[in-house]
Every structure is written in structure tokens, then in C-alpha cells.
């Protein structure tokens, strides 16, 4: 098991964002976490990355508990996140953004990663010296994904990569995620676009107000009546 989350509870002051959730991610899988606004999806990813501290429960990664590990050390352990809303460094160039993604890596590794990312996203290569703030939304999302790949993670966390993108771009981003997974990377995908998410995931969990209410294989979930009603707009 690559990642195992057990009875994870998180609260922000008085607000209980997660009420004891458990889920697992196996090596090589694409697992998706779907849910409505405010369900606690981003909180889950932030807690895995150490940005938010859990109130209770454990997060184990490669059989080690990482609850108390600092965010920057979690990156060195091989977890990388594409945060919600892209969060690229707008005042840095595309190249500098990518270099930041490889902050934990040495020069040689950075150069290698850079080549790989540019190969995957030729559009970033063309805009290498442009400020990230001047990129279009779709390009920023590609940059955010490219930046996360720079550290060569084993586990990639993606927080709503389809947010605010046109349907064609959404398809492009999802096919890129599939490709990334095929190249051997494990993916934990958070989405509101359940349709797309279920189409590329192996397994899925449904999160509702801080609790996991359903789980199963993606095909099962896509057929589930409740899921179709609540998340697939039927």
C-alpha cells in the first residue's frame, strides 16, 4: 500500500472539515475523491501534504506515519501536489516555476526533469521565459502539473485540475493524467467533475460533509444510482 489514511479528522477552529475518513491508494492506481463544494476534498490533500495538521487519525505513506512531517520534507519523500486553483508563481517565469518544482532535486536531476516536462508540455517550452501570470488558464494548469512533476514524485495529488477549463481542455488534461499514470506514477485525483474523474480512475470515494459515504471501483460508482443523481447531473 502506497498511501493509507485512517480515521483522519481535521478541524479549522470550530469547523469540523473531516470527520474520520479512511481510504487507501495502491501503487500504480488512479484513485479519485469526488464530492460537492465544502465536502473536505482539499482539506484531505492539504493534510496529506502537511499543510494542515490532523486532529486525529493517521496518514501512512510507504508504511511510515507522516502526520508530523513538515511539508517540505513530504515533497522529498515523493508526494507532490497540484493545488486547487493552480497556484503558479505568477511573478516568476515558466522556467523558474518549474525550477521551484525541482527544489529538492540537484542540478542534474532538475535538467533531466525539465527535459521530460518540456517533452510532455511543448507549449511550456515555447513560453519558457514568459511570466507565469501571463499564461492562459489552461497553460497555467499545465504549468502547475509540470511543476509538480519536476520533483519526480511517486504519488501525485491533483486538486480539481479541470476547474475553470473549457471541455476540450478538460479532456486534454485528463488524457495527460492518464499518460502520467501509465508512465508509472500513482495518482490521487480530487474532482467535482465526477464524470471525467470516474472515466479515468480505477477506484473512487465519495466524500460528503467530511465523511466518506460511498466507495468502490470507478465502474461500479459510475453505475450507482445515488452517484448518478448527485454528481452526474441525472
Amino acid at each position: 500500500m502506497l498511501l493509507a489514511v485512517e480515521n483522519l479528522a481535521v478541524s479549522y477552529g470550530g469547523i469540523q472539515a473531516l470527520r474520520g475518513i479512511s481510504f487507501t491508494v495502491e501503487e500504480g492506481e488512479v484513485v479519485t475523491l469526488v464530492g460537492a463544494n465544502g465536502a473536505g476534498k482539499s482539506t484531505t490533500l492539504k493534510t496529506i501534504c502537511g499543510l494542515v495538521r490532523p486532529q486525529a487519525g493517521t496518514i501512512s505513506y510507504q508504511d511510515e506515519t507522516i502526520n508530523k512531517v513538515a511539508p517540505h520534507q513530504i515533497v522529498s519523500r515523493g508526494i507532490s501536489q497540484v493545488p486547487e486553483g493552480r497556484r503558479v508563481f505568477t511573478r516568476l517565469t515558466v522556467l523558474e516555476n518549474l525550477e521551484m518544482g525541482a527544489y529538492t532535486r540537484n542540478k542534474q536531476e532538475t535538467r533531466q526533469s525539465l527535459e521530460n516536462v518540456f517533452e510532455r508540455f511543448p507549449r511550456l517550452k515555447e513560453r519558457e521565459h514568459q511570466l507565469a501570470g501571463t499564461l492562459s488558464g489552461g497553460e497555467q494548469q499545465m504549468l502547475a502539473i509540470g511543476r509538480a512533476l519536476m520533483s519526480r514524485p511517486r504519488l501525485l495529488l491533483l486538486d480539481e485540475p479541470s476547474m475553470g477549463l473549457a471541455p476540450m481542455l478538460v479532456r486534454e488534461i485528463f488524457s495527460i493524467i492518464t499518460e502520467i499514470n501509465r508512465s508509472g506514477m500513482t495518482v490521487l485525483l480530487v474532482e467535482q467533475n465526477a464524470n471525467m474523474a470516474l472515466s479515468i480512475a480505477k477506484r473512487a470515494y465519495v466524500l460528503e460533509t467530511g465523511q466518506i459515504v460511498l466507495s468502490g471501483t470507478a465502474t461500479e460508482m459510475a453505475r450507482n444510482k445515488e452517484v448518478r443523481k448527485a454528481y452526474l447531473g441525472e
Partner: protein, 342 residues
Amino acid sequence: MMMRCEILTLALGRSRLILIFYRYSCSKCFYDSCRPGGALKAIGGRCMFWQQFWQQLVNGVTLGSTYALIALGYTMVYGIIQLINFAHGEVYMIGAFTGLIMVTVYKVNFIIAILAAMLVCVPLAILMERIAYRPLRKSTRLAPLISALGVSIFLQTLVTLIKGGPNPLAFPQVIQDTVYVLGPVRFSTVQVLILVMASLLMVFLQFTVKYTKIGKAMRATSEDYEAASLMGINVNRVVSFTFAVGAALAGAGGVLVGMYFNSIHPFMGVSVGLKAFCAAVLGGIGSIPGAMLGGIFLGIAEVMGVAAGFDTYKEAIAFGLLIIVLLFKPTGLLGLPIQRKV
């Protein structure tokens, strides 16, 4: 103003280099009577004005570059953790005292004194951040500000106690002061030194922030603290580094100002600190080129104001200017547009 400068004579007298600039302008009188030498005696009112103007400009840029050195510390720290480090002026004061001890007790030359001041100020600022600011980072915004004021008063009192009183100490003349003439303008060696040192430090800083790994991490952290830590950047280390760089510049500034005004005291950080803070806001707080520009702008305004006879209102000039600029451009001269919240 259309003007052209031309070096006519480059005379090397004894060991001292004297550069003489001649200047043309559309005005014939200007050309004739401002020529150094005999004609200088026949200065008309108008040329007197220009001679004064250029002289005060040089003095202003000199004073301004010391403000800039200190303003950089305010602006960088603000850029990273949105804190106005009110104790930064005291770092500069301690830099000046370190320099004084080095030149009087250890009799070292000024370069070593400047380096020593930087070396003392860096750990001081890092310690300050660890003890007084870091534990308060997640509390209200007011808490670290109050803490900064506390540190500031603590350091002033500490130095007063060690020194045994608040009265000023003379900063001995550490370099032979020669006057260089450049057209209508006279430079002292200390002025040249301040200009050269400040420029070198600022170029070095710009280089660090623009091209080094830690410099890029600084920019990334100042834009998005959380995203930076998701990159594997140790944000705490970046914060310490920022304090260290600011302190090194302030320490150097302290020694340079000591040499310039020949007098230092435990409360010297208060007014200079406040003015440097003004300079940082003037230039656009958070912006490094802004702090440089703001400092120089303020220095020129202050010196010109004094030359124009507003000596008594010297201190008011900085704040008046600040208010005027902020009325028209609330983010400062080179300030970034108000940040969109993510």
C-alpha cells in the same frame, strides 16, 4: 533638460585622481561661467543655482543610498511574512556600534569593520526572528508588530546600558578624507565609498534574488507561502535567509552612516529606521527595486529641502512626501497591484 557631459581633462596629480568634467548646455552663460578655474569666480545667480543643484543631488543620492540599504530590509521581510520589522532600525544601530568597536578597539580598517558589522547583525536578526516573530506567525497580525516594537526598545536599552548612557559617541575618521572635484560637484571620499558600497551591495542583492536558487525561493515564498512549501521549499529557512540579508545590508549601512556623520548613538535607528520604512513604502513595500528607488528619492528630497531652507522641517519632508505619493499611488512608486486572494 538637454545636456551633454564630456571629459576634457583627466589629470593624475601625485597619487590622487582628479576628474574634471566640462558641461555644455543650451545656455552659453552656463558653459562659460561654470567652468572650473578662473571663470568660476564670475558665477552668475543662475549658475550658482545649478552648481548648488548638482551638489545637493550628489549629497541626496549619497544619503538616499544609505536609506535604501536599510529600506531593503523592511521591504524584503514584509514581502515574505507581511511584517513591518520595527526593530530593523536597531539592527542598523548595532551595525554602527560594531563598526565603531572594530575601528577604535581593534584598529581595523573600514572594510573589515563593515564586514564585522554584517557578521554581527546577521545572527542577531536571525535570532530576533526565531524568538520574537516566529512563535507569533499564526497569531493575529498585530501581535508580531507589538513584539517588533518590544525588540526595538529592548535593543536600544541594551546598547544604552552597555555603553553607559544615551549620549552620542564620535565615530573616528577612518579614511583620509580627500575631496574630489567633478565639474561643479565636490565629492568626499566617504561619499564615494558610500555610493560604491551601496551600489555593490544592491547589485549583489539583485543578482542573488534574480538568479540564485535561494533567491528564486524567496520570490516564490513571498508570492505564495503555501505553494512554496508544496515545492519542497523550507519556508522557515527562506524567512531566516531574508532576515539575514536585510540585516547584512543594514549593518553595512550603519557603519557607512557612522563614517559619514561621524557620530552614533543608541537611538539613531529610530529616525533613520522610520525614514527607511517610509522609503520602502514610497517605493512600494515588498518591491526590492522600489526600496532602492524610494530611498534615493527620499534622500534627494530631504537634502534639497534642507538646501532650500526648510532645515527645521527636515523630518517632515519624508512623511509629507510619503503622504503625497500614497495619495496618488497607494501601492507606492513600484508597488505591485493589490494582490488577488487565492
